[in-house]
């Protein structure tokens, strides 16, 4: 599974964190923790910025998060012209990370509010493409 199968449209194919997409296909949204210093980051990283050489472990983001901020995009960039309107958001999770992504399109736009409780859920975009979205709890 390559990273070029991530999202609606991908720009990068090679990364040490490509396993992220394999996990998405299995229905899990995962990120990484440094085994040495325990730092958790999102996006996932296979290198620890604090420890240098270290081992990273994957874990699933299962918590309920809080919608930090959002915007509904009415004019999309190349490849997203037909997707509009779509809502981008940042969600804060209690474990200490923030995740950027799209809101579930099934939520009516006028019901999206800062502070609402959401979870991050893996999503199969098409036959070979995988992503995640924020769904209402």
């Amino acid at each position: 599974m390559g990273f070029d199968q991530f999202g609606m449209k991908s720009f990068v194919s090679e990364t040490k964190a490509a396993e992220f997409v394999t996990y998405l296909e299995e229905g899990k949204v995962m990120t990484t923790r440094c085994k040495k210093c325990q730092e958790i980051t999102f996006p996932p990283k296979m290198d620890c910025r604090r420890c240098g050489p270290s081992e990273m472990e994957w874990f699933e983001i299962k918590e309920i998060g809080e919608l930090g901020t959002f915007t509904t995009v009415m004019y999309g960039p190349a490849g997203f012209e037909k997707e509009t309107p779509y809502t981008l958001a940042v969600v804060r999770f209690p474990v200490g990370i923030r995740v950027f992504g799209q809101m579930d399109r099934k939520i009516p736009i006028d019901e999206i509010k800062v502070g609402m409780a959401v979870k991050v859920v893996a999503l199969k975009v098409s036959q070979n493409r995988f992503s995640y979205q924020f769904e209402r709890v």
Partner: protein
Amino acid sequence: MEKDVAIVGVGQSDFMRKCSVSIAELCFIAYQEAMNGIQLKSENVGASVICSATEYDKQRSPAGVISDYLNLKGKPTFCVESLCSSSSSGLRVAYSLIKSGLHEVVAVVGFQKMSELSSAEAAERMGRSGDVMWESPFGMTMPAAFAMFARAHMAEYGTTEEQLAKVRVKNSLYGSLNNKAAFQKKVTLEEIMNSRPVVTPLKMLDCCANVDGAVVLILASREFAKRITDKPIWIHGLGAASDSATLAGRETYSSISCAREASQIAYDMAGIGPEDIDVAEVHDCFTITEIINYEDLGFAKPGEGVKLLEDRETYLGGKIPVNLDGGLLSKGHPIGATGGGQVRTIVRQLRGECQEVQVENAKIGLVHNLGGPGVYCFVTILGRD
């Protein structure tokens, strides 16, 4: 008080939607104006720093072509990039070149010819504005990032869309007096509120537009500056900082942390505080940005930026007049030239050349220039004396 490095010349082309000249010709216009009025020949310019967000250029590595056209062939030249703050980066580099003793005079040349791109090419680049690994696959754009800052500011402080629109009402008033601005029409609150939504809660008229333009700043060492001009403008403070390029890496969305850091560094270097600033140019790429900038720069406390505007303290005659040239919202945003354009305005204010928008006896001015959605920030403090 005299400092080690001065700005001795400033020049700017008109900012416009379509300039219909080449990038080198565009820079030439600004260079001529910058060299006008100082006793300096091109042979005295030791080096040039060319500033561009080069993803918008057809010309690969524009420094060679431009410096040659400006008659700076043979001198060191190179390009610096930090998106919308490219020419503030250039100013910082030029300052170091002089302060280190490598050169006595350096030209900072910022430009962008946005009209060189087809709309398809522009849309393609727009799709790579965010982190291409983790944000672009969701359809992230630059306006979307600032729209998320706006939403966060609204949620935290109760800021309204109408209050954001008041930023543009102010800036369009001053834009109508700037004959080099791309948009010189005064706009009303109603027009802004009725303009079409682009990235909620921001509407068309909450956003600045990309334009073509060039700016040149000539910097010189203290001794050289005093020889060639009666009105050197001294560099008192230079602050710069950066933040995570991904929004997921940010601590807050209602403030831009690299702007808070850059301003503190600049204030410390200048030995002053926000209350000492007579006139300022801040990066109003969107209406919300100007409000956040007031707060990040310490002109207002967090959450009180709107009040500063509504009390007309950032109008001419107020406590801290801001964007008296119309800001990016009126001038337009020629990415690589934008920061230089802001510096030019403050230099002209400190020289007393701004006629109907002149702040009386302006001695200390500040420039705040962001790159990307708060990835980079440069704060420059300039002084007349």
